[in-house]
Symmetry: C2
Subunit: 437 residues, 2 copies
Amino acid sequence: MTSAAHSASALRPSPLADLDTAALREAHSAFARAYDDLKAAGLKLDLTRGKPSAEQLDLSDDLLHLPDGRYRDAAGTDLRNYGGPTGLAELRAIFADALRVPVGQLLALGNSSLTLMHDTIAFALLHGVPGGELPWSSRPISFLAPVPGYDRHFTIAERFGIRLIPVPSDDNGPDIEAVASLLETDDSIRGMFCVPVYSNPTGAVYSEEVVRALVSLPAADDFRLIWDNAYAVHHLSDERPEPIDVLALAAEAGNPDRPLVFASTSKVTYPGAGVAFFGASPANVEWMLHNLSAQSIGPDKLNQLRHVELLRDADGLAAHMEKHRAILEPKFAAVDAAFRERLAPWGGGTWTAPSGGYFVSLDVLDGAAKRAVQLAKEAGIAVTPAGATFPYGDDPRDANIRIAPTFPPLDELTTALDGLCTAILLAEAETLLSARD
Amino acid sequence: MTSAAHSASALRPSPLADLDTAALREAHSAFARAYDDLKAAGLKLDLTRGKPSAEQLDLSDDLLHLPDGRYRDAAGTDLRNYGGPTGLAELRAIFADALRVPVGQLLALGNSSLTLMHDTIAFALLHGVPGGELPWSSRPISFLAPVPGYDRHFTIAERFGIRLIPVPSDDNGPDIEAVASLLETDDSIRGMFCVPVYSNPTGAVYSEEVVRALVSLPAADDFRLIWDNAYAVHHLSDERPEPIDVLALAAEAGNPDRPLVFASTSKVTYPGAGVAFFGASPANVEWMLHNLSAQSIGPDKLNQLRHVELLRDADGLAAHMEKHRAILEPKFAAVDAAFRERLAPWGGGTWTAPSGGYFVSLDVLDGAAKRAVQLAKEAGIAVTPAGATFPYGDDPRDANIRIAPTFPPLDELTTALDGLCTAILLAEAETLLSARD
């Protein structure tokens, strides 16, 4: 038990919002003392980004000497030279099943799916997409953004001057009624960011019903789902969602060109030194290859060969991901335990318990998130800025905090979470008190 | 001596253009017989692209097991994880001197300088550049294109709807009077493609006088030199141009932001699995990093570490390039020998004898290039399409053919060159005869 828990527990915890003002002041004083202790500890811990830990990276260290002198693919091609715009067939075969994209419609490309999403949107802005009459940039456009969501998606849109329209989401994905109504009334909408499996940051898995709706709803012919399947194989439990074949469902619905599927090995092998994938309808793949042909004479095929030799096949990939799970499961359990122990007794927050992915989404009391993150930062605990999970950094309730528990070792994580809870409780008591002034 | 040389030499070679029609017909018949023999040989040879040969690729095969278990840079950073947007300082240090870009203004990025040029132009179109009021895409724009030039440059511009204005060039680089006059009279000009050292395809090296003019001439504040220094260290002789510090000259001229320097290791180590560089003024580097920050969470730093371990330092780079030279010098000598033996006696062409780079530029008789390339192709010898060295594939004289001698083994190269000369002589005789009809 921490000092904060000790001193505050003397107050018989109950939901802060229900306390009378005197009890709230007492709680605030206790939290403030705990926070002073925390600051005095001089921590320097980081929960900001969804980075694999060193222990996870070690799992792929065969990449540091592969391909061990070899440089030919199964077809005998010398992979050291130019060419091969679609990427290695062998590597695409390993990921085709997990991503539910036929090998012939799956490209293995550079080191980042973020780059592919950015460039795909740049291509659409400058050239338009199949089914569109004009480049996207020919008029002001908007994207739908399920919230809370991924800040780097928002940054791409913001940089390109694409207006982001927040859409509420729940455990089954985005609110389909809201999506339908927006698509019906706003003809500036050209795209929508989706993280269909273990969403960043909520861990939500889109239901088949939601996916069917997204590919079926009436929308412009050049409307695209930016289907960021970043966590398709990143399970944290044995309960696994059946992969949804979004391309098949879209084709069935008569909108084969709507989804653009993105993924990468950034959190399978090495971030930065991995391989990214693009999957789509034949028309979209042809469009992508045409655009890529002006940008590149081919991806780093040797790095793709390294990945083939490391992962071998779909079973090898699944086995590799089990090793990640073994490292990550205790960290996610630690998040849940910390919030249960420290926040729950005070009604201090609600959070997700994802079955996969890299994040926990925490909602603290309205109006307290920014202050909590600031307090944590001043105590040496870096957390993703409050609001980052909303377009323009604007969380209307100022409640959401994204927790990224993967990078620190377990003991540091536990210390950081405890300190964060102290900061949150103090921020919440402050917020409630100032509302009663 | 080949059969073509034999049979034609019976005619006492003299410049085809000077022959009377009877003699020209006789020569044509001899060339046609030689060409029939050539076709009957059923060759399948390729002189199309500037690709390193397998023997050259072998020089870098240590990359196939490096970094041999290591994954930290000199500063101790774990290179397996995200981050490091500027690229490895150690690798930038190796190339800074050769490229004449201070390490602090040099970025080591992805696997392709073509990608960097494409993306830089896309950023400029969508966001504008330092010194510019508006994104380039806000109005129709043009680029200057020294000719003959590099087809992949032209493709980027053509895809983006940037009008290309050909500028004549000679052994010292682009015709500065023409550049000055165009810049003065056409305010749509936003950029210019330059290959300052061992130009593609002529091998020309820009003189210091030309470079000083390019960075000094009055031009729009958002005018940029796309300074593709692809062949800076790719020497073929001991006579080496003194590297020109284009950034310093531009700063001196009061136009520090004008040059954007690009380079890569594609023809140092492996095409596709190499590292590309971007160098520019501090303002341009900041602009680039800002744009990259929405596109990427960092380049493949492990591949950069591989390159540091392979090349070690500037001396290691120079020694490595000497090994390339040893392989390439005989191939370029073979081109010169073939044209001297087969074309010169008939006045059949003029060609460059570059001191570095990857290409020889051949001018055949006006109007004969396309036909020559077609005849070569039909005889199983693939050559870069005639016209490819001009914007829109439009060589107004139909005379220029780019020769790429690096990829085939020497014996295949010799065979291909001999066959190509046969095709050229036949095309030239045809062309002259049809003009006399």
